[in-house]
Structure formats: structure tokens, C-alpha cells
């Protein structure tokens, strides 16, 4: 049985406090008036002309819907200032949202991996089930935090989702056509539906898993198998819709039909990486004595394979849009390549080239420090991936990984550690009653 050490608890509380201060600073320092916003940008850019950049084609679509005064050509100056104000006001919200979504996504990806192992009756992984169950404990609190942020957007505390602004919709034919799907009550109801479904599965699966420890028959295991198979069906539909709602609708003019898969690959690889990192951490503390190098090797193979799978989906999305070059589609990537050049291509290096080269060799996947090193880079890379999905439409070219962004990351990182390790300490790390435990203990490559 794992005991949650005070050291780790204090560490995660410190992370949360520091992160919270960073977020507060971000909210307090966001401008209230157009003049303040312009002064901030002028300071940052040393008085460089900013208007010229904003006249560029890819920004026009944003200008039109992000500021309510966009429909008066004569308000050229005001319109630009207003737009800038909205972007800077969005910044701390977007920083909060990216971090909240990223850590929720890790828990959700882990839950999917766990359900696949349950449904496939995998023989190698039962030794890791308790670690996975610990990580998925963060799903409910994490998803509820995301829900609160979405609800606050629905109440117009921020402009993350511009289709929520009736003023914008009134002047936007494209969004008007989507109002049947993209309206605040239905949007929030859908969000609650997804969260309820995931959390219900997680609750019962954990319950059956713990009950199996003491059981004399395998009825709990069979129940877990059945609900896991059903959950996977529910998951693949709701995960896809969740990605349209929570991520893609930030850019309501643009759509991609494989966006759900793309977000799935990202959360899947992040989840598997987190399982590996936490398992290695627990092993280094002397727990999880049944987990051997072959288990880590297998997690390493998944990290390697799913990183390539992510790249495949990313590229499939990118190449078709790049090649066809249709203005309303390609604006998505033009914004990212022009304004987000470093994070956009840096993410490819971190999520593809680095794990490809580091994890290709079979022997390296058995060395814990290689997995840890690759894992940290993969996780940061997927944080940047989420950053790239959300920031361009929320703050335009005003992005920066500064105090609010790092603060948001640290806050949710601390909360994640707190929730996950508390859950891990609640049950024995060895799922003794699992019928495949013997196979998992003997597992060798």
C-alpha cells in the first residue's frame, strides 16, 4: 500500500499556490480599456507599428467576428484597438483553459487506454491497473473545472468562444447556420452528458476492480469487461464530439473531419506517457515490485507507436488543407505558421522526431531514464499541441508563454499530482484478485 508522502503533498500544494499566483497576476494585468491594451503592445514592441501586421489576410476573419464593432469600416482604428483588447483580455482565460484541458485530457486518455486493456482482456497490464485507476481519478474534477470555464464563457466572462456572443452571430452568416448545434444551453448540456458518461464508467470500473481483490469468483472481472467494451463505444463518439465542442468551435468557421482522431491521438499518447512516468516514479520508491522492465518496455512501445500515429493524423490533416489551399480552410494553418512558427514546428520536433529517434532502439525502451526523458518531452510537446489548437483563435499573435501560461500549467500540475497520488494511496497497488495477474507478473519480452 502506497502512502502519500508529506513531501510530495507539500510539493504539489506549492505548485498550486505558485500557479495560482501566476494566474491571478495574469488576470490582474490584463487591460480594461483599449488605450491600456495599445499601451501594453506599444511597450512590448517598442513602438513598432502593429497595424500593418493586422491588415494581413488571415486576420481578417478574426477581426470580423472577434469585435462587435467590426461592422463599421469607418471605425478602422477603434476596431483594431477593440480587437487587441479582446485578445489581451482572453489571454489569461486561454492560459487557464489550455492547462485545464491538457490535464483533463491526460486523465481521459488514460481512461481510454485502461478500458482498452480491460476490453481486450490484456494479460500484460494488470500490474499497472492501479496506477491507471489513480490517474483517471483526476478525470471528474478536471472535467468539471473545464466545464466551469465553459459555463463562464457562456455567461460572457470572456470571448474564448466567439459564437457565444449574439452580437457576433448577428453579423456572421456562417455561424448563423450552425446555431442549431452551437448554442450555449445545448453546448453545456452536451458537455455534462459527456462528463457524466465518462465519470460513471470510471466509478463502476474502479468499484469492480477493488471488489475483485477480495472476490472468490471472476464475476467482477466479467462485469468490468462488459462495461469497458460499452464505454469504448460511448467514448469514441463523445470524445470526437467533445473535441469539436471544446476545441474546434473556438474557431467556428473552420472545421476538419479528422479533428476528433487527432485530439484522441494526442490524449492517448499523453495518457500512456503519464502511466509510464508514474509507474517509474512508484518503482523508484520501492513500490510496484511486480512491474518489471518488460512492462516499461511495452509502455515505451506504445509511446513510440502512438507518437507516430499522432504525427500521421497531424500530417493527414495538414497536408490535405495545405495542398488544396482553399482560403477558408488554409487560414487555420497560415495563422499558425506565420504567428506561431516556433511552437508549431517545435511541437513536431518534440512529439515526433525526438521520440522517434530516442525510442526506436529496443534496448533504450528498457532504460527508465530514457523513458522519463522522452516522456517529459512528449508531455510538454502535447501541452504545446493543445496550446496551438486554442491560442491562435483566442489571442491571435499576442501569444507568449509567460507568467499566466506557466502559472496555469503549474496550478493544474499540482492539482493533478494531489488528486492522482491521493487516489493511488487509497488502494493496494497490486490488484491481487485480477485473473490475469499471474500472466502479468510472469510477463517478459
Amino acid at each position: 500500500m502506497y502512502t502519500f508522502t508529506n513531501k510530495l503533498r507539500n510539493f504539489s500544494i506549492i505548485l498550486m499556490v505558485v500557479g495560482f499566483l501566476g494566474l491571478v497576476y495574469g488576470f490582474l494585468s490584463s487591460p480594461d480599456t483599449v488605450a491600456e491594451a495599445q499601451a501594453m503592445v506599444a511597450d512590448a514592441h517598442h513602438g513598432e507599428g502593429h497595424g500593418a501586421e493586422h491588415g494581413a489576410a488571415p486576420h481578417d476573419t478574426h477581426n470580423d467576428h472577434q469585435s462587435p464593432s467590426a461592422h463599421g469600416e469607418e471605425h478602422g482604428e477603434d476596431h483594431h484597438g477593440e480587437h487587441l483588447l479582446h485578445q489581451l483580455q482572453n489571454k489569461p482565460w486561454a492560459a487557464l483553459y489550455v492547462a485545464a484541458f491538457f490535464f483533463m485530457m491526460i486523465a481521459l486518455g488514460t481512461l481510454a487506454f485502461y478500458a482498452i486493456n480491460r476490453a481486450a482482456q490484456a494479460g500484460w497490464s494488470p500490474a499497472l491497473f492501479r496506477v491507471m485507476e489513480g490517474i483517471t481519478a483526476y478525470l471528474l474534477p478536471g472535467a468539471l473545472i473545464v466545464f466551469v470555464i465553459l459555463a463562464l464563457s457562456g455567461m460572457h466572462f470572456n470571448h474564448l468562444f466567439i459564437w457565444m456572443d449574439p452580437e457576433v452571430v448577428a453579423h456572421d452568416k456562417l455561424i448563423q447556420g450552425k446555431v442549431g448545434f452551437l448554442n450555449v444551453p445545448f453546448f453545456l448540456a452536451r458537455a455534462l452528458f459527456y462528463i457524466a458518461g465518462w465519470a460513471t464508467y470510471r466509478y463502476f470500473s474502479r468499484k469492480f476492480s477493488l471488489a475483485q481483490d477480495q472476490a472468490t469468483d471472476v464475476s467482477n472481472h466479467k462485469k468490468n469487461f462488459r462495461i469497458s467494451a460499452a464505454f469504448l463505444v460511448f467514448y469514441i463518439v463523445t470524445e470526437s464530439m467533445m473535441s469539436w465542442d471544446w476545441v474546434m468551435s473556438i474557431d467556428p468557421h473552420w472545421f476538419s473531419t479528422l479533428f476528433g482522431w487527432y485530439v484522441f491521438a494526442s490524449m492517448f499518447v499523453s495518457g500512456i506517457t503519464t502511466i509510464a512516468l508514474i509507474a517509474i516514479y512508484l518503482k523508484s520508491k520501492g513500490y510496484l515490485e511486480k512491474v518489471n522492465d518488460s512492462h516499461i518496455h511495452d509502455l515505451g512501445k506504445f509511446m513510440f507507436g502512438i507518437s507516430i500515429f499522432w504525427t500521421y493524423l497531424w500530417f493527414s490533416q495538414f497536408m490535405l488543407i495545405w495542398y488544396s489551399n482553399i482560403p477558408e480552410e488554409v487560414t487555420y494553418f497560415i495563422t499558425r505558421i506565420e504567428d506561431y512558427n516556433l511552437p508549431f514546428f517545435g511541437m513536431l520536433v518534440m512529439n515526433f522526431i525526438f521520440p522517434l529517434l530516442i525510442l526506436m532502439n529496443s534496448d533504450y525502451k528498457r532504460l527508465n531514464y530514457f523513458i522519463v526523458m522522452a516522456g517529459i518531452v512528449i508531455l510538454l510537446g502535447h501541452y504545446i499541441d493543445v496550446f496551438n489548437m486554442i491560442m491562435p483563435s483566442a489571442v491571435g499573435d499576442q501569444w507568449f508563454i509567460g507568467v499566466p501560461e506557466i502559472g496555469g500549467f503549474l496550478f493544474f500540475f499540482g492539482l493533478f499530482l494531489l488528486v492522482v497520488f491521493k487516489e493511488i494511496s487509497k488502494a493496494p497497488l497490486h490488484a491481487a484478485g485480477d485473473p490475469y495477474m499471474g500472466e502479468s507478473e510472469r510477463f517478459h519480452y
Partner: protein, 179 residues
């Protein structure tokens, strides 16, 4: 001379074979070769064979394929006959790179896979119309055969092999033209 005398032990189960190989090696007998109808997981380790180096070759072959794809597409699409496709004139390899990625990927896989198979055939001395080397046709069906060199220890070995579950043990004179 007894050195070209070998003993053939036949097994009918892969698990029995694995444990037999382990106990034969424990008694310090030299196993010349094992013939199986399908790859047996863990047999290479039980036999103490050196790790395969084919994965290193696969990486090198992949790199060759990758380079061939880049040189080929650069010559075809950029240097020799630049075309304007979809408003993307082919004047620079880098700017048109996304269009060539599928080709780079496919040729990497193509080179790695085909050259790996060819390497495997060469290393195993296999080529078309080659006469089969397996001493007993049963090993192409459902039996496993272990070939052990004899050094005037036939009786001792026979007893050991019986113990490990061999269903048939024969001693034969090996043709020397093979060496």
C-alpha cells in the same frame, strides 16, 4: 571418427522443446541446430544465440530509402521538369516538401522491408530452387527436431533426451560434403 556423427531427437510440443533445450544446454552438450515448423518464442534465448542485428540494418536501409526518395523527387519534380500544381510552383524542394512526404515515407518502408528480406535470405543461405536442408520432413508439419553433436557419449545423451520427453531418437552419420 565420431565428430560427424549426430543425434536427432524429435519432440512434438514447443514447450517440451524449450525445456529440453534448456536441460541439454545445462549438461553442456552442443546443440548443432533446431528445426521447427514455426518460430518458437524464446528459443533463440534458450539456445544462447547472439541477438539479431537485422534491426540495425533495417534502420540503415530505411535511411537509404529516405535519401533515395529525396534525391529522386528533387530530380523529378524540381530540377528536371518543374510544374505548377495547385498554385504551388515547384521551384524549391523545401517549400513543396509536404507533397513529397508520402513518397519519402513509402520508399523508406519499401527499402527497409525489401532489403531486410533479402538480407535475411542471404544470411540464411536461402535462394530459389535451393534443396531443403531439414533432415526430417516432419519438421515442416508438427514436429520439432534437435540436432546434437556426438562425442562418444551416445548412451548418456540418449538417457538425457528420453528424460526431456523426446518421442524419437536416432543416431546418424552426417554427410561430410556440407562442411
Amino acid at each position: 571418427m565420431s565428430s560427424n556423427q549426430v543425434i536427432h531427437a524429435l519432440y512434438d510440443d514447443d514447450d517440451t522443446l524449450l525445456s529440453a533445450v534448456k536441460s541439454i544446454r545445462e549438461k553442456k552438450h552442443h546443440i548443432e541446430e533446431v528445426y521447427t515448423p514455426f518460430p518458437v518464442h524464446g528459443l533463440d534465448k534458450a539456445l544462447g544465440l547472439a541477438d539479431t542485428r537485422i534491426s540495425i540494418m533495417a534502420f540503415i536501409y530505411g535511411c537509404i530509402g529516405f535519401s533515395v526518395a529525396i534525391l529522386m523527387m528533387n530530380y523529378i519534380m524540381i530540377e528536371d521538369w518543374p510544374q505548377n500544381i495547385g498554385g504551388k510552383p515547384s521551384f524549391s524542394y523545401l517549400e513543396n516538401m509536404p507533397a513529397f512526404v508520402p513518397i519519402m515515407f513509402e520508399l523508406t518502408v519499401f527499402f527497409a522491408a525489401h532489403l531486410m528480406v533479402i538480407t535475411f535470405y542471404l544470411r540464411s543461405r536461402l535462394w530459389p530452387f535451393k534443396e531443403a536442408e531439414n533432415p526430417n520432413p516432419l519438421t515442416t508439419d508438427d514436429k520439432f527436431l534437435v540436432e546434437i553433436e556426438l562425442h562418444d557419449n551416445e548412451k548418456e545423451l540418449n538417457a538425457l533426451l528420453k528424460e526431456t520427453g523426446a518421442i524419437d531418437i536416432t543416431t546418424i552419420e552426417k554427410k561430410s560434403d556440407h562442411d
